[in-house]
C-alpha cells in the first residue's frame, strides 16, 4: 500500500516535469495522498464463568492428562500465558463490573451478586468507547449485570434464572427481545458469535466481540455427548482436599461451600414426578445446600459420600469445560478460515478462579489462590511473542485500559487500572505493581464466606476477615502454596506483617477504599435490590431456602 503511494507520488512528479516542458500548463504542486491510518486490530474477548486454572492443561495440574484443553492451550502456545492475573472481588457480577469499568467495586457500585442490585449502566464502560471510536461491537452469552448492555451494536445474553442462564434450551435477550433457543448454551453462544462475525464482514469496521460462556458455572450440566465421558475412572483429588481448616476455623472452616453442600440438583438426582412445580420443586432440587442436609446414596459412610459427591462434581465440571474448549476451537478455526488471525487479538479468561475440591471447596469468593487467580492468556501475533509466559501481578481492573491501548484508543476516562501493554510486549516496566488489593463483600448468602479485604504480593497473602469476626491471616506462598498454614501470629513474620499492612493501607487509599469497618459492613448489609425485577411477590431461591417455618 505504502509502495503504491510512493510510486504514485514519483510518477506524478515525473508527469508534471514533462508537462512543464510542454509549456502548456503552468507550475504544479506535487500530488500527495495521506497515508491511510494504521489498521486497527480486532479483539475477541472470551470469558468463561468459574473456569479455573486447575482445569486448563496449559497451566498443568492434576487433570491435564485426563481432561486436556487443547484449544485453550493453543491460545497460550501462540500467545502469552499469565500466571498472576488476579480478581479484585471474586464473584461473577462484581468481577464483570470491574472489567467493564476498569474500577473497583467501591467506584463502580457493583459489590455483590446477591442483593447487589443492578449494574449502573449509565456509567462509562470500555465497550462504549470502542463503539464510539467506530468499532463494531457485539456481546454474546452471559452478561449477568441486570441492566441491558450498553455500547454494543448487537447483543444476545442469557436472560433466565436471574440472568445466570440455563445450559439447555436457554432463553436469551437478543437486542431487547427475549428468544428461547434450542440446544446447549456453550454451542449456542458460539453460534451467535460466529454469525455476528459473518455479518460484520460487510461493515468494514474493526470489531470488538465479547463472548462470555455460562459454562462451567453451577449446576455443571455437560453436553449430552460428554455426560458419561469419565464414568469409568476415578478422578484424582487435589492436595488440600482434606483440609481440616486448623487455625482457620472461623474463616475457611466456617463456610457453606464444602463437599457437604452440594444439592440434589448438583448431583443430577432425578426429581420425583409427584413434586409440584414451583416452590416445591425448588426446595427439592436445592436440598443439600443448607447445613445439615447431606446428599448421598444410602449406605455410604461420610468419607465415601464426600468422594462420591466430588467425583460427580468434578466430572460434570470438566465436561462443561470440555465444551468450552471445543467452542474456543471453533472460534480459532473461524479466524483461520477467514484470514483474521494476524490482526485479531484473542483474550481468554474467566470471571475468577474456582475450587475444584481444593480446601474441600467448590465455589469461589476467597482471596485464596484458587479463586483469586484468573486464567488469562492473550494471543496477538503482531505484538506478543508466541509461547511466552508472564508472572507479573495484573488485576481485572487492568483489562479495560489495556484493550483500549492495544486498539490505539486514548480516552480521558479515569480508570483505576493500568494498561499492561508493555508487559504483553515483554517489557515489564521496572516500577510495575508488586501487589494487588482485594475486597469481597457478599454475606451470608450464598456460601457463608466472611467479608474480607487483603493484599496479595508475589510472596504473601494478607487478609482481614471482618464482618462478624476479626481475623487476620497471613500466608507465605513460597513455603505454603496450598495456604493451609496461617502465620499471622508467627513472631518471625511480624516485620513482614507490618510492611504488608502499610502496603495494604496505601492500596486502600489509592483505590479510594480506605473506610471504616462499620462502613464496610454497611455495604454487606445493604440490600441493593435484585438483579432482575421478578414478578411481584415471587420469592427468590434464597428466600425460599432461608424462609423460617411459621
Amino acid at each position: 500500500m505504502k509502495n503504491n503511494f510512493i510510486k504514485s507520488f514519483c510518477v506524478l512528479t515525473l508527469v508534471f516535469g514533462f508537462w512543464n516542458s510542454c509549456n502548456i500548463a503552468k507550475s504544479h504542486t506535487n500530488v500527495s495522498v495521506k497515508a491511510a491510518s494504521t489498521v486497527k486490530p480486532n479483539i475477541i474477548y472470551i470469558m468463561a464463568d468459574d473456569l479455573t486454572t486447575q482445569a486448563i492443561s496449559a497451566y498443568g495440574g492434576i487433570y491435564k492428562d485426563i481432561a486436556p484443553t487443547p484449544n485453550i492451550d493453543k491460545v497460550a502456545k501462540e500467545g502469552m500465558l499469565f500466571h498472576d492475573v488476579l480478581v479484585t472481588n471474586a464473584i461473577c457480577g462484581p468481577s464483570r463490573a470491574a472489567i467493564l469499568t476498569g474500577n473497583y467495586s467501591n467506584l463502580n457500585g457493583y459489590y455483590k451478586n446477591e442483593s447487589g442490585g443492578k449494574f449502573n449502566s449509565e456509567q462509562w464502560t470500555f465497550p462504549q468507547e470502542f463503539q464510539k471510536q467506530g468499532y463494531a461491537t457485539g456481546l454474546f452469552g452471559k452478561w449477568h449485570l441486570g441492566t441491558d448492555p450498553v455500547g454494543f451494536d448487537s447483543f444476545k445474553y442469557h436472560n433466565s434464572a436471574g440472568q445466570q442462564g440455563h445450559y439447555w434450551d436457554p432463553l436469551f435477550n437478543a437486542n431487547g427481545i427475549d428468544v428461547k433457543e434450542k440446544g446447549y448454551a456453550t454451542n449456542l453462544s458460539t453460534d451467535f458469535a460466529l454469525n455476528w462475525l459473518d455479518s460484520t464482514k460487510t461493515s468494514r469496521q474493526p470489531f470488538l466481540m465479547i463472548l462470555q460462556y455460562k459454562a462451567p458455572h453451577r449446576p455443571w450440566e455437560p453436553d449430552t455427548k460428554y455426560e458419561t465421558l469419565w464414568d469409568a475412572i476415578e478422578m484424582p483429588y487435589p492436595a488440600t482436599f482434606n483440609d481440616t481448616y486448623e487455625g482457620r476455623e472461623k474463616t475457611a472452616g466456617d463456610t457453606e461451600m464444602t463437599m457437604e453442600y452440594f444439592s440434589r440438583r448438583d448431583m443430577k438426582l432425578e426429581r420425583p414426578k409427584d413434586i409440584k412445580k414451583g416452590k416445591e420443586s425448588i426446595k427439592w432440587d436445592f436440598y443439600g445446600a443448607k447445613p445439615g442436609e447431606i446428599v448421598q446414596p444410602e449406605g455410604m459412610n461420610n468419607e465415601e459420600g464426600r468422594k462420591w459427591r466430588y467425583q460427580n462434581y468434578i466430572k460434570d465440571y470438566l465436561a462443561c469445560v470440555k465444551s468450552v474448549d471445543d467452542n474456543v476451537g471453533r472460534v480459532l478455526n473461524y479466524l483461520k478460515e477467514n484470514n483474521l488471525e494476524e490482526n485479531t487479538i484473542i483474550v481468554l479468561t474467566s470471571d475468577q478462579g474456582f475450587y475444584l475440591g481444593d480446601h474441600g471447596f467448590f465455589d469461589k469468593r476467597f482471596i485464596y489462590e484458587e479463586s483469586l487467580r484468573m486464567p488469562f492468556m492473550v494471543k496477538y501475533p503482531k505484538k506478543i511473542k508466541a509461547g511466552s509466559v508472564n508472572e507479573d501481578i495484573i488485576s481485572n481492573i487492568d483489562f479495560a485500559p489495556t484493550l483500549l491501548e492495544l486498539a490505539g484508543i486514548s480516552t480521558t476516562q479515569k480508570m483505576q487500572g493500568t494498561s499492561f501493554v508493555p508487559v504483553l510486549e515483554g517489557n515489564t516496566p521496572k516500577d510495575w505493581q508488586d501487589a494487588m488489593y482485594y475486597h469481597y463483600y457478599e454475606f451470608p448468602f450464598w456460601h457463608h464466606v466472611q467479608p474480607h479485604y487483603g493484599i496479595r504480593t508475589q510472596k504473601y497473602t494478607l487478609a482481614h476477615f471482618y464482618y462478624n469476626i476479626d481475623v487476620w491471616e497471613l500466608y507465605d506462598l513460597e513455603k505454603d502454596p496450598g495456604q493451609v498454614n496461617t502465620i499471622y501470629n508467627d513472631p518471625n513474620y511480624a516485620e513482614v506483617t507490618a510492611e504488608l499492612k502499610v502496603k495494604l493501607k496505601n492500596l486502600m487509599i489509592k483505590f479510594e477504599d480506605n473506610k471504616s469497618l462499620v462502613d464496610f459492613r454497611k455495604i454487606t448489609d445493604t440490600d441493593f435490590g435484585r438483579i432482575v425485577d421478578n414478578i411481584k411477590d415471587e420469592e427468590s431461591v434464597q428466600q425460599i431456602l432461608t424462609k423460617k417455618k411459621n
Binding site: S8, A25, S32, T202, S203, R204, T412, I509
Partner: protein, 467 residues
C-alpha cells in the same frame, strides 16, 4: 526498635497518602451540533462561486461565516449513489453505489453510517425530507420526516396538475404566484425551524440533516423567484454542443429531462426552451436559497450557531447545456463539481480554499468538527486543515466515477478512462488551467501519451486500493 519502626511506618503512611491526588471528574467536552444541508442537483451556480447573475444571498451569507471549497467534487454524479457514499464514508466502486437508487442497506449492510455513528455518541438524529434517496435506508434516524407521501414532483400550477391527472407528463418547470410554503422545500424549512426550537429546549447534541429538493427537476418555484431573472438576458454556454474530440462514451441522452412535456425525445432543445430551462434552474436556486436562509436565521436567533457545525453541500453537479448536455450523469466537470460550504466556530470565516474536497471526506470532517472520533472504516480524509488554513492546498487529488468511466482529478488535470474487458476503450484529459470548459481532449493528442500513461497508472493504482 519497635518504636522507631512504628515512626517510620507512620511517616511512610503520611508521605504516601500525600502522594494521592484527587483527580477531577472527567470533563465532558460539549459536543457540537451538526446542521447538514443537503442540496439536490445544485451545482456551484451561486453568487459566491463567481456567478454574479445568480441571486443567492443566504448561501452567500453562510459563506461569509465559513469556508467555501472552490474545488469540491462528488465521487459519483447521481443522487442515490452519491448520498450513500457521503453517509457511509466509503467510495463508490464498480460494484457499489452505482445508480440513483443505490441502497445503503442492501449494498453495504451493517456499515457504520454517519447517522449511526453520531447516534452512538449520544446525538439526536433527524432527517427532514430527502437525505437518503430511498426512504428508510438508514435505521438510526430518531426521526425521518417527509413533507408528503404524494409524488415527488410536487406540481402546484393548475396546468401541470391537470396534465398529470390526465396521465400525461407535466412541464419541466412552473412559476405560479404562490407562497414559498406551497412547495416541499418551504414545508421542510418550517419543519426544521420547529425542530431547532425543540432541540434547543432538549439540550442534547443533535445531527439534523435537512434535504432540500430544489433545484432538482422540475424547476418549480414561486413566480417571485422567476422574476429575479430576465429570460432575454440569459445566455447559453459557449460549449453548447458535444466536442468532436471527446469520446462518444462520454456522451449521454439526458433521459431524465426528456420525461417532461415540451422536451423532444431526441436531439437538442430549442434555444428558447434551453433559456427557459436555465431560467427555471436559476429560479429554483433562488427559491431554495431563501428556504436555506430561513433555517439559518432560526439557528442564529436561537443562539445555536456558535455551537453548530453547518455544512451546505450539493450531491453532484449538473449540465446546463454545456457539451450539449443536460442533467448530471457524466464525467465532465459540470457534473462532478459541487458547492461545499462549511461553517463552524473554530475555523476560518469568509474564506475560499483551493484545496480539493471530495464528498467522501465529509464523514471524517464532520466527526472532527463535532469533536467525536473518526471511525477507522472511512475512505475519506478530514478537511479540517483546509478549513483552518484555507490559503494552503492540503489535498490536490480526487476520484470520481460514472458507470464505466473512472476519473482522476490531479491538480488541474482531469483525466478519465473507460475500460471494457481490461482494455481501455476511451480516454479524456483536460487541463483546467487552460481549458476549464473541457473543449480540447488532450488524451487523443500524441504529445500527451506519456502523461496519459502516467495518469492511468496512478488512477488504476488508486482504484486497486479502493476496497
Amino acid at each position: 526498635m519497635k518504636h522507631s519502626k512504628l515512626v517510620v511506618i507512620t511517616c511512610l503512611l503520611i508521605l504516601l497518602s500525600c502522594k494521592i491526588t484527587k483527580e477531577n471528574k472527567t470533563l465532558i467536552s460539549a459536543k457540537k451540533n451538526v446542521l447538514f444541508l443537503m442540496m439536490d442537483d445544485l451545482r456551484p451556480e451561486l453568487s459566491v462561486y463567481g456567478h454574479s447573475q445568480i441571486s443567492s444571498p443566504n448561501i452567500d451569507a453562510l459563506a461569509k461565516s465559513g469556508v467555501t471549497f472552490k474545488r469540491a467534487y462528488c465521487n459519483v454524479p447521481v443522487c442515490g449513489a452519491s448520498r450513500a457514499s457521503i453517509l457511509t464514508g466509503i467510495r463508490p466502486t464498480a460494484n457499489r453505489f452505482l445508480k440513483f437508487n443505490a441502497s445503503i442497506k442492501n449494498e453495504t449492510p451493517n456499515i457504520l453510517t454517519l447517522v449511526r455513528h453520531f447516534k452512538n455518541q449520544g446525538y439526536t438524529t433527524i432527517s427532514n425530507n430527502k437525505i437518503t434517496h430511498l426512504k428508510r435506508d438508514i435505521n438510526e434516524w430518531d426521526e425521518e420526516w417527509y413533507p408528503s407521501l404524494k409524488g415527488w414532483r410536487d406540481y402546484q400550477s393548475k396546468e401541470n396538475i391537470h396534465l398529470e391527472k390526465k396521465g400525461q407528463h407535466g412541464y419541466a418547470y412552473e412559476n405560479p404566484d404562490i407562497d414559498d410554503d406551497a412547495y416541499y422545500d418551504g414545508k421542510t424549512a418550517n419543519k426544521s425551524i420547529l425542530d431547532l426550537k425543540r432541540l434547543k429546549a432538549e439540550g442534547k447534541p443533535f445531527f439534523m440533516a435537512v434535504g432540500f429538493v430544489k433545484p432538482h427537476l422540475p424547476f418549480n418555484a414561486p413566480k417571485k423567484y422567476w422574476d429575479l431573472y430576465k429570460e432575454s438576458e440569459i445566455t447559453l454556454p459557449k460549449n453548447n454542443s458535444f466536442s468532436n474530440s471527446a469520446p462518444e462514451i462520454a456522451n449521454h441522452s439526458w433521459g431524465e429531462l426528456r420525461y417532461y412535456k415540451g422536451i423532444p425525445k431526441k436531439g437538442q432543445v430549442s434555444d428558447t426552451v434551453a433559456k427557459k430551462l436555465i431560467h427555471g434552474y436559476y429560479a429554483a436556486v433562488s427559491y431554495v436559497d431563501a428556504q436555506v436562509g430561513k433555517v439559518l436565521k432560526e439557528l442564529k436567533n436561537l443562539g445555536l450557531k456558535d455551537n453548530t457545525v453547518i455544512v451546505l453541500v450539493g450531491d453532484h453537479g449538473w449540465s446546463l447545456m454545456e457539451h450539449g448536455l443536460w442533467v448530471k450523469h457524466s464525467n465532465f466537470r459540470v457534473a462532478l463539481q459541487v458547492p461545499l460550504i462549511i461553517s463552524a466556530s473554530n475555523i476560518s470565516k469568509d474564506r475560499h480554499t483551493n484545496s480539493i474536497a471530495e464528498l467522501v471526506d465529509l464523514y471524517p470532517t464532520l466527526c472532527e468538527l463535532a469533536t467525536i472520533p473518526v471511525p477507522p472504516h472511512v475512505d475519506g480524509e478530514s478537511l479540517v486543515e483546509a478549513l483552518q488554513t484555507p490559503s494552503k492546498v492540503f489535498k490536490n487529488t480526487a476520484l470520481a466515477r460514472w458507470q464505466k468511466g473512472e476519473t482522476l482529478i490531479a491538480d488541474n488535470l482531469f483525466y478519465t478512462e473507460w475500460q471494457r474487458n481490461n482494455n481501455t476503450i476511451a480516454r479524456m484529459l483536460y487541463d483546467h488551467n487552460t481549458d476549464s470548459d473541457e473543449n480540447r481532449n488532450l488524451a487523443i493528442e500524441a504529445p500527451f501519451r506519456d502523461i496519459v500513461d502516467s495518469l492511468s497508472t496512478i488512477l488504476n493504482n488508486r482504484l486497486k486500493r479502493t476496497k
